[in-house]
Symmetry: C2
Subunit: 226 residues, 2 copies
DNA sequence: CTCATACTTCGCTTATTGTCGAAGTATGAA
DNA sequence: TTCATACTTCGACAATAAGCGAAGTATGAG
């Protein structure tokens, strides 16, 4: 059964504005340094250090040292999903950023931990199912025999994904669209492929993924997205 | 986009052992009084009052007055799902209870907010899909034309469920089985039906649902569960 | 080797939180 | 009307937490 003490400690670890900012910043999927996170959280580096210690103790983040740099990441996708759920419950608010209408861009395509989220991601997922390249089952989502060559044609080593212990396919609730997009190792591989083919690029900061006109066209063609 | 302040306040509201115990107690789906919750949380009534005020402020619970009694419930199923997710992340631990092997009973059938969870619930859901009475789609789970008479035969007013604003069908991750069971208004209606037919009964305290031998047989027969 | 950078630890201050018993308020039974 | 019950509010106490600047440690550039 659930352990209220442990549950409370996890929630308490998240339950501070600075730590929430840190977790949300990490939801972009990038490993960030304490200095970067200090800027995101708008607290002093020493305070950030203490916060990271708490997040680490609660197993919400991992830290890897590389020379004098520390790289912080969200521990695993269960944590990512929890943060996303908490985010969804707290509802979307407008982004206060310097340039242009960013929120629409975020709705269209963004990184959710390690996979693509947003309207395009939702439609991609729907198309994969509609084309019977993925099959929805009660115990998960399966890559079909029809879908395998399509995904391999896109450059994904499907066999390797399936050999991995990690879930290949998982639905992730897209808070901006209130439908699902594809998470799991296949979701991550699709994003990697999109980025490596330069159909889209990430913003330098933040989570937005911007498709070029050509890239979006290519995505829609290859995956039969209306 | 996500609001870190609001996200932090929701998580902080959960992030105390006493409040976690309160929320987990409420996950049984029953409205409980502050006195009952005080016993569950193992704190003084005045402390419970303060905790309930915090949970209410964070919109995690609702309180209804009935004479001198207050009845507390979880606000909505998004909150229930969040609590379930947090519970899943913190992992199951053995129940320390007076009588018998409760944990196995909890794995078999229990209440998850307002619907059935556990091994039987998972198999019920799988069967509903396998029999094509429910259909998995990327935008949700639909009751099929084939399934409609089956559910109505069980005593469920399917049209009324579908007219409701609430989601009829939703997958809920069963932490004990690591597969999904059925939540949403259909999930709740199924549980109501099972209880009203006396195929199963709830324990007086806690979340366990106990099927009689006859009731389990009936469930398996009517819903083609192997 | 020296200096700069990244990051943590320490000590301190301030604020917040959780707990309780006692008192108070509202409701219901007798 | 009186007494019991359910629950909240108040005041007090103790513990915890978040914040910072300064100092310390480790790494890397020049």
């Amino acid at each position: 059964m659930n352990n209220p003490e442990l549950m409370a400690s996890i929630a308490a670890a998240i339950g501070d504005p600075a730590r929430s900012k840190i977790l949300l910043a990490l939801m972009g999927g990038r490993a960030l340094t304490p200095t970067e996170l200090s800027l995101e959280a708008e607290v002093a580096p020493s305070t950030t250090s203490a916060h990271l210690a708490k997040l680490h103790k609660a197993d919400l983040v991992t830290v890897v040292r590389q020379g004098r740099h520390r790289y912080v990441q969200i521990s695993n996708e269960q944590v990512a999903e929890l943060v996303e759920r908490l985010g969804g419950l707290s509802g979307p608010v407008p982004i206060k950023t310097a340039s242009g209408p960013k929120d629409p861009a975020m709705r269209t395509a963004r990184v959710c931990y390690d996979h693509l989220a947003g309207e395009l991601a939702v439609r991609l997922f729907e198309s994969l199912v509609r084309q019977h390249w993925l099959e929805l089952k009660t115990d998960g989502i399966a890559i079909t025999d029809r879908g395998r060559p399509i995904l391999e044609g896109f450059g994904i080593d499907v066999a390797a994904l399936e050999r991995s212990r990690r879930l290949t396919c998982r639905q992730c609730l897209d808070w901006s669209e209130r439908r699902h997009h594809l998470a799991g190792s296949l979701g991550a591989a699709l994003l990697d492929g999109i980025l490596s083919k330069r159909w889209a690029e990430r913003d330098l900061v933040g989570r937005t993924v911007r498709f070029s006109a050509k890239g979006e066209k290519q995505l829609k063609r290859d995956f039969r997205i209306p």
